[in-house]
Symmetry: C2
Subunit: 441 residues, 2 copies
């Protein structure tokens, strides 16, 4: 099976664990098989691999998620990087071209496209496999998964099939209705559109060439910024006559808010938390290193990260977005291609952070115009380079870098460094990158 | 007026803002006249001084509160330090001897004793002045303040006066009753015993000499550890025949739990906090530098400090103690005589803290057997001494101290230092102090 997982934007609805830098799909709150916590993207990836070990998994996403994906899934997963956001049709065209031109998948094979963050069980991925098989058979140009509705939701679009057979031609699509209309649709056998579909590579590439002037993946990537924003529904689905739908009646949840996300948690708490016995329907996700004590709460979610602390009635939590938009705050934690950083302290003219470098990884060779930096190694071993001078470092070693000096650090084992930044203008934009022949070290 | 404020123990009921190191009376949550937040002890001190600018204020407390008292009240306040806890009679005897022998207060003057943490208005301190005047007149050996009960509380002892006059002889004392008995007492004109009383210095010193073999304050201090634990009620009040009580009907609150403390807050929030409009009767005290967002909460208190986060139904918050007892945690923040420290990060074999030194203050000259330390100055100026070598430091300067080296740091202006500790056995007990002639620097 070839599967493309669409990995979306920032997800402020799950603040403070999700923000501009870290998206909800990377929050580790699900208990994996080995007892370790895993994120939505890890859970889905492991589920796909358990259903089809040979599956080619490609994540279609923006550049800023690449580090988190590599950190969480390793190098085995394909990533189709969108140079900028251009809605779903260009993204799917790019990912399909990537599969064909970069991964070498033949054009008569099928591709299944689905969001990266459904909360589902094994049967869902068995259904995706079947969807791919139907698409490869070619009875229709597009084969959708239609989810059997469990209530007359106003949140989803509806697919009206021609028959109530397991696989049927699609009669028509309906936009998000009101509750009464939804009841009527459901009475007519309608299905939720969960944004899951399959097609043959040749079909999609033909569509792409019809609408975009490009030669291959690399050409498409290069001109991506110039493409028109257009949704897959608008560009393809609405114009296509040959569409089939396959019913799916298994468990399916969309974890977009704290309310729905906490429903999917197998344990009340993740992280250091205590609930007294008068708490009812309370979930705590604590990403800080200090304890949380909850007493006498009902139907509440508490989420804490280096970005902030949310304490909310579960139902109210779905109205979070405008409040988070108003919080004007510094990024306190971020995963990078080389590891991660955590802000420890902010004072006037100085910022202290903890930098963790993964083994074998390094920062870019760079300089700052307006700040000095002092590194104190607290664990692991590695090498620093300051203006070309290489030095081995271990815990307790201190390296001072003054403004203008080019510098980098390379981790031989996992390396943790306390970095004190000093200057009157400390900001992330003050960074110049340089080439350095790391292979010659 | 001579006033002795009894400053009690740790107050785990107000965790995470109060703990073994920091007591509730030092939490800054009341809006002072100048708009700055002040603590209970600051509020009470300023109230006393506004009623009687010449008042001699002495705080009777343990050694570990001395730094916080000096930081919050300056050097103007007298402190009677109890070398160890020996209950209220020895504490009051020691404070009275301190007033007489150290402060030189004549023995015919009166002393008013009251707890350090009542939440009261100016009229209360006017009443204390009157209490002192009555004691100085000498119509009774002991003059108590009796608080007019507002409900039949089971939390307080009761004083039954002989008459309903404003000042009356005491007929009898009653231990904490049940509600029905309390109703009966109140019908008989009973008053709450708020632990406030006044006496002449000569009276109390005579009592002390009867029960304890000592010459003067210094002798009493020296043998304090050998004294029997005995309460003032048991040692003095129960045996005394000549006791008067003065009624007080003004506002009086005992702020022992989050529930009662938040009632006294003038604003919903202290620190960085947002409440949405569906929150009702919610208070937030945020001592962290990250934002707290509350949505849809009712009758709740949220308190956050470097020690942890409490989210509690207000009424439930009075049952906090056993839960806090179970939290086995490191002290993350402490006020010291020289300033304060805040733990920024803990990893295996390394601890990073931020040290703030008040201008003109310094650490002890000391060494550690099992850890190295690296100081990076982030603000202010000062001097370091390492094995006798003095060095001036300013922001960006780094001083490395290896295990065994004697070291200290002196702040010329307010000085902030990031200290990275490194070693396999990092603990507060690993500290040897040395003499150093700071005056010769």
């Amino acid at each position: 099976m070839n599967i493309v997982l669409l990995s979306g934007g920032s997800g402020k609805r799950l603040w403070p664990l999700s923000n501009d830098i870290r998206s909800k799909q990377f929050i580790k709150i699900f208990k994996g098989k080995d007892g370790e916590y895993e994120s939505m993207v890890q859970r889905v990836y492991h589920q796909i691999k358990s259903v089809d070990d040979d599956a080619t998994v490609t994540i279609a996403t923006s550049k800023k998620q690449v580090s988190a994906i590599n950190n969480q899934l390793g190098e085995g997963v394909g990533i189709s990087i969108e140079p900028c956001r251009r809605d779903t049709f260009p993204a799917i065209a790019l990912a399909t071209a990537y599969l064909h031109d970069v991964q070498g998948v033949p054009e008569n094979e099928a591709v299944v496209v689905c969001p990266v963050d459904p909360y589902v069980e094994r049967e869902y991925f068995e259904a995706l496999k079947e969807l791919g098989r139907l698409a490869a058979e070619g009875t229709a140009n597009l084969t959708l998964m239609g989810i059997e509705p469990t209530y007359p939701s106003e949140k989803y679009g509806y697919i009206i099939p021609e028959s109530k057979e397991n696989v049927s031609k699609v009669s028509t699509f309906k936009e998000k209705p009101d509750v009464e209309t939804a009841k009527d649709y459901i009475a007519r056998g309608a299905l939720w559109n969960g944004g899951v579909f399959a097609y043959k590579i040749s079909y999609l590439l033909d569509k792409a060439h019809e609408l975009i002037d490009f030669t291959d993946y690399h050409d498409l990537y290069a001109k991506y910024e110039s493409l028109e924003k257009i949704s897959f529904d608008y560009a393809v689905v609405e114009k296509e006559k040959s569409i089939a739908v396959m019913r799916f009646s298994g468990e399916w949840k969309d974890l977009g808010t704290w309310n729905t996300l906490t429903e999917a948690m197998e344990e009340e708490c993740v992280g250091d938390a205590t609930l007294n016995d008068t708490c009812e329907n309370v979930n705590v996700i604590n990403d800080l290193s200090i304890p949380i004590l909850c007493m006498g709460l009902k139907n509440a979610v508490v989420a804490a990260s280096p970005e902030g602390i949310l304490v909310s009635d579960k139902e109210q939590s779905s109205y979070i977005k405008p409040y988070v938009d108003k919080l004007d705050q510094q990024v306190m934690f971020a995963e990078k291609s080389w590891g991660s950083f955590l802000v420890l302290d902010v004072v006037d003219e100085s910022l202290t952070i903890k930098v963790t470098l993964n083994p074998g990884h390094r920062m870019n060779y760079h300089s700052h115009e307006h700040r000095d930096e002092v590194w104190t190694v607290i664990s692991g071993t590695g090498r620093t380079v300051v203006d070309g001078v290489v030095r081995r470092v271990r815990p307790g070693d201190v390296v001072s870098v003054i403004a203008g000096q080019k510098h980098t650090i390379i981790a031989d084992s996992e390396l943790q460094v306390v970095e004190v930044q000093l200057g009157s203008e400390i900001n992330v934009a003050d960074k110049k990158k340089f080439d350095f022949d790391f292979d010659a070290m």
